[in-house]
Amino acid sequence: MTQLLTVRQFSQMGLLLTVIIVSSAVQAVHLDVEVWGEKDALQAGFCHTPNIVGCDLDGLTSGLNLPAGSLPIEASTGKAIFLADFQDLPGGAFKTKNPGFQAIQNALSPNEPISYRALGVLKYWSTTASAWETAPATTRITLFGGLDLSSGVFNNPAQCNGQLLCFSDAAQGTGKSTQFTGAGIQGAPELLLDVASNQGALHTHLNFFLENAQGQLGGPDGAYLVEMQVFSRSRSTPSAPFLVMFNAGLSNESFTAALSALVKTVSKPASTLPIVNPSDPALPVSKPPITSFTQGDADLDGDIDRVDIALILLAAQKNEVALVEGDTRDMDNDGAISRQDATLARAKCTLRLCNIPVSPLNASAVDEPAVFNLNTKTLDIRDVQVQDQHFQVQMQLEDNTHLRLKALQPQTKQSGQASEYDVVSGELSIPTMSADQHYYQVRMRNMGSFQFEVEQVEEIKGVSE
């Protein structure tokens, strides 16, 4: 089962990446760096699993005139080359957020901080020289990492002269950026990339700037090459180094020539793809069970949002079939991806701007596990655990025994007194609910259509406010 799901997750991830590649043809060709953990090591690469339909990189290679089936890999070192374009945003010729970094759900440990480490020297390729050489001293690429919340940000007013949030001295200034230069790495060589979600997923984009030595935006046309790797302090082995190649004003032809100069001696084959391990990555012990993938979570990032709905619609348009049993896009399990699957996924959407009615939740419930307001007849539950996910919930009493789900929002602040919802039985158990200075234990059941029926209410004696 684990093996099956792993294949599924990576195949679907590949599908998403393919979508981005193909779509990007009209803009800049780029591919996010995929990150995942394998036991005590962190890995990074294009496409984790080979020979999967979703991992077709033809769009990328054909756009760059690479030999069929080959990948942008540096011939001399075997390092993967990720491509980006400083001009991929309208109006911003010397800055880009690409490539991004992605990890699918459960690819990392929950809340695992991932950092990058800058390596090597900045290389430069110009049309006049038609060769890679060390970048001139007048040019650099600056990368701003994420802030390390544990050391760079304080949120205790006592530490912040009263401010509810402040930043350490170390978090400010150039010490918290990395400069790739022809003379090597300057500034901070290691900085935080981002912190994985509760589901062990990650998707972040850092900010790369092409600058002169004084930090002013700009630089000569050409291609630039930097080297980096990612690591986690909770794993002893960092990823293999990889390269990021930036286009700064070159035509596609010239950019391809620059890339070809790096990859020219290598042709395919799939078996030589970097950082590929067809076996199931061993997961850290702290990881939640991999069976927690949610049907409808097409991009496997731990939630169902509009991106997932769009991906399912696109797959339906292409008459795709489920890649494997339990494909998260195949909501009705009929083996085909259809618009019906998108409709079903939308009904499960848990984020704003989807189908679930969302209304503001009562913050008065913040300090109570559950509060029933006798005046408004609303029940606010601070933390409802549904498998490994937590939600803040508001219900409205309709009659003496029925409540309707009014609002549902992800809850990031979990408590030790979570109410529990069993997806199989539809039973919601509230260990402590306060109402008019009395406390109760409540059990109710999901009757469908957002309606819950109260099955048991028992006062907890000896508890007072």
Binding site: Q27, T96, L164, V195, N207, V358, P360, A363, T412
Partner: protein
């Protein structure tokens, strides 16, 4: 003066004011008559009107009382002037007043800015009790005072503001609406109906008022309805050049000729009941108003190439979105933000005339305000702001000595505030304040001395013990249980009537304002101001040290009024740029951001000394008297400059000057007004300069009397006749929503 004399004088003035109204033929309608300031020339009766049997008073003497010069720091808008200036918002209504600007956030929102100050520094009152909405919290929140109900609007700066607490250090704007009747109507049933139509946005405003009264009982019933479509503008809504320069974006979502999502609809009504006795009065009113309006799209929706999670790459490939437009269609991707505001007020007022020797009046005033607005995106609520407030005032007016009069009072406010939902950047908080104050006036020959003292204690109690930044891995920030502030204020003024018709006033004012809730406790992204706000629980009181010198000189033909002021504010509360940015979509804090449109600068509330200086000046003269009417000319100008130690205070109005040419008589009037607003080059940190613009307006009104029962007033107002693109430097949204283009307002009022 005894209470009997006071009542007699009050009654006499009422009669005389009524007489004056009869003279100009507009009677007491939704607003009483004239003038907009003390500069207005005294009215004179026409020969035909002198035949009216009602005319039996000593008109000259009465007019003198009715039009006594105002304090130089005070201006009053009422009568026809109010009728012609009435706009959809309070700020729009007052924008022509000296020293007052309109901080718009699209046409649905307009906050009055007094001498460059607004928000928590200017108290907005409805018949003496605060509006208690959420307008001080954020510039996209409308004021919950409906200008259509206004009978008189006072803008006050100076010693009298001490009655209203620290939040009045920049001044007060008091909208008097007579919802609680204070006098009997002239006949058993009286009232007024008004309707107006605005060609810009097809705006319709309608209002009615009925006063019923006999012997000791008076009832007031009023209602209004206002509706408008999207505002029309010259050129494009978004300043594309600014966006390209600021964010490096081209090809943005922009619209020409109109500002999308600026339609609004408002409905409200009130019922008031009063007992009116010889020795006192007591009354109450219940009112409710609702206002649904949209705010123009800000920078977060201007880039069509930016969507979350790579949607901008996926969606172009999907050929059929039918059935999914609600989450993937254009409106879903760039949704409109709408606000649904509801307010219910319960007001009570009681006065006891001369209860004891030397005590002229005991007044009690209490207002209970239940305010709520819901912010909606695609029709779904995402944040609800609630403000439940009780504000009371007990006041004793005395006339202890012949030349010494004054008041002693206590004022208290209990406020429960919450902002719950997605954009919850301020926690649920209770705020209480208790203030004791006194104002005394002493007259000695040509001099009048006024002194005011106030001490105020306030408490701020967040209900939560911690505050969590949404989406952040940071642990929750601990919040204090209780924040306590003590603020003392003192003001002194001396007025010297160096001529019979002229006086000079010097005011010294040292007032303190305690920090407001959002300054103390905000934490999170605030999309309307494009900022990430960080509160500071160690903020101290802000102290204003104001020196104000004013001159007022009025004759029959010429009037002149001018103020110059200097304000040194200690510990001015402002938002300091931390240098970090917050990426909205990913909810990540960064040092620098590739796409400025996707990131919010992070501001922390801090304190620093600031200086404000400026002036207001107005001169008016009757140029010639023709058979058809008088030709008058008014010249005016105002200016304010504010500096922090490291730059200019942002969003201040520019130098403004102009002239108004008037021609008319008691039956009809016309006016042509030209206002030049210069460029605001001193935009302040992180703000962009605004261009100057010319505003040309014209007004005309005509009074028609049909018998004794009904009289009509027809009026027309043409605004922005040059159809200029006007981007006001005081508007947060100036780069996304300019002021309205050319418009013509046609109105009809019937009084009976």
């Amino acid at each position: 003066m005894s209470i009997k004399n006071a009542i007699e004088r009050k009654m006499q003035m009422n009669i005389l004011v009524g007489y004056l109204i009869l003279l100009v033929g507009t009677n007491q309608a939704l607003a009483s008559d004239e003038p907009s300031s003390a500069l207005s020339p005294a009215k004179k009766s026409t020969p035909s009107e002198k035949h009216n049997a009602v005319i039996e008073m000593e008109a000259v003497e009465v007019i003198g009382i009715a039009e006594a010069p105002l304090a130089p720091q005070q201006s009053t808008l009422k009568g026809k002037a109010l009728q012609l200036q009435q706009g959809d918002t309070l700020g729009k209504t007052l924008e022509q007043e000296l020293g007052v600007s309109n901080a718009s956030f699209g046409p649905g929102v307009g906050l009055p800015v007094v001498r460059g100050l607004t928000g928590s520094r200017v108290r907005l009152l409805q018949s003496g009790i605060g509006s208690h909405d959420a307008s001080s919290l954020s510039p996209d929140h409308a004021v919950a005072i409906e200008p259509l109900f206004a009978e008189e609007i006072n803008v006050l700066r100076g010693p009298e503001t001490i009655r209203y607490g620290g939040n009045a250090i920049g001044g007060i704007v008091d909208v008097k609406d007579n919802r609680i009747p204070e006098h009997l109507p002239k006949k058993l049933v009286a009232g007024a109906l008004e309707s107006r139509y605005d060609t810009n946005g097809e705006g319709t405003n309608s209002a009615f008022k009925v006063d019923i009264g006999k012997e000791w009982l008076a009832v007031n019933v009023a209602g209004f309805f206002r509706s408008r479509r999207n505002t029309q503008i010259p050129g494009q809504a978004i300043d594309a050049a600014y966006i390209e320069q600021q964010f490096g974006l081209s090809g943005i979502n922009n619209v020409a000729g109109t500002i999308p999502n600026t339609d609004s609809e408002s409905l409200g009504g009130s019922v008031g009941l009063s007992w009116l006795g010889d020795k006192g009065m007591a009354g109450l009113s219940i009112s409710h108003s609702g206002n649904q309006y949209g705010v123009p799209k800000g920078s977060h929706a201007i880039d069509p190439n930016h969507l979350e999670g790579g949607l901008e790459l996926i969606l172009p490939q999907i050929k059929d979105l039918s059935g999914f437009e609600d989450i993937l269609g254009p409106q879903a991707l760039f949704p409109n933000i709408r606000l649904d505001m509801q307010q219910t007020r319960y007001d009570f007022k009681s006065e006891w005339y001369e209860p004891l020797p030397g005590i002229e009046r005991i007044g009690f005033r209490y207002g209970l305000v239940d305010y709520q607005h819901v912010e909606l995106e695609r029709g779904l609520p995402f944040t609800t702001f609630k403000n439940d407030v009780g504000e009371g005032r007990l006041e004793f007016d005395h006339h202890a000595l012949k030349d010494l009069t004054g008041s002693v009072g206590v004022q208290w406010i209990n406020r429960d505030f919450s902002a719950l939902g997605v954009e919850t950047y301020v926690p649920e908080t209770q705020q209480d304040s208790l203030g004791f104050y006194t104002t005394q006036a002493y007259t000695l020959n040509q001099f009048e001395f006024k002194v005011g003292l106030r001490t105020e204690q306030s408490w701020v109690n967040p209900s939560a013990s911690v505050l969590k930044l949404r989406g952040s891995a940071l642990p929750a920030s601990p919040l204090p249980d209780d924040l306590k502030f003590q603020a003392e204020s003192v003001s002194f003024a001396i007025k010297w009537a160096f001529l019979e018709q002229a006086n000079l006033t010097l005011t010294l004012n040292r007032s303190k304002r305690s920090p407001d809730i959002q300054e103390l406790l905000s934490l999170g992204p605030h999309l309307s101001t494009r900022s990430f706000d960080i509160g500071n629980v160690q903020l101290k009181n802000e102290t204003v040290n104001m020196l104000d010198l004013g001159i007022d000189w009025q004759t029959d033909l010429v009037g002149f009024r001018a103020n110059a002021y200097y304000n040194q504010t200690d510990d001015f509360i402002y938002q300091r740029n931390t240098g970090f940015v917050y990426e909205v979509d990913t909810e990540v804090i960064r040092q620098r951001c590739v796409s400025a449109a996707e990131c919010l600068p992070m501001y922390a509330y801090d304190q620093r000394d600031a200086t404000f200086m400026g002036y207001e000046a107005e001169a008016k003269s009757i140029l010639t008297k023709l058979q058809q009417g008088d030709v008058s000319l008014k010249l005016f100008s105002d200016y304010v400059r504010g500096t922090l130690s490291d730059g200019d205070v942002p969003r201040l109005p520019p130098l403004r000057y102009g002239a108004e040419l008037g021609f008319g008589n008691e039956v009809w009037n016309t006016a042509l007004r030209y206002t030049r607003s210069e460029a605001q080059e001193r935009a302040g940190l992180n703000e962009n300069a605004t261009r100057g613009f010319d505003l040309l307006t014209a007004t005309a009104d005509y009074q028609l009397k049909l018998g004794d029962a009904v009289q009509f007033s027809l009026f027309v107002k043409a605004s922005n006749l040059l159809n200029e693109e006007m981007r006001s430097s005081v508007s947060f949204l100036r780069n996304y929503a300019p002021e309205p283009g050319r418009s013509f307002v046609f109105g009809l009022r019937a009084t009976f």
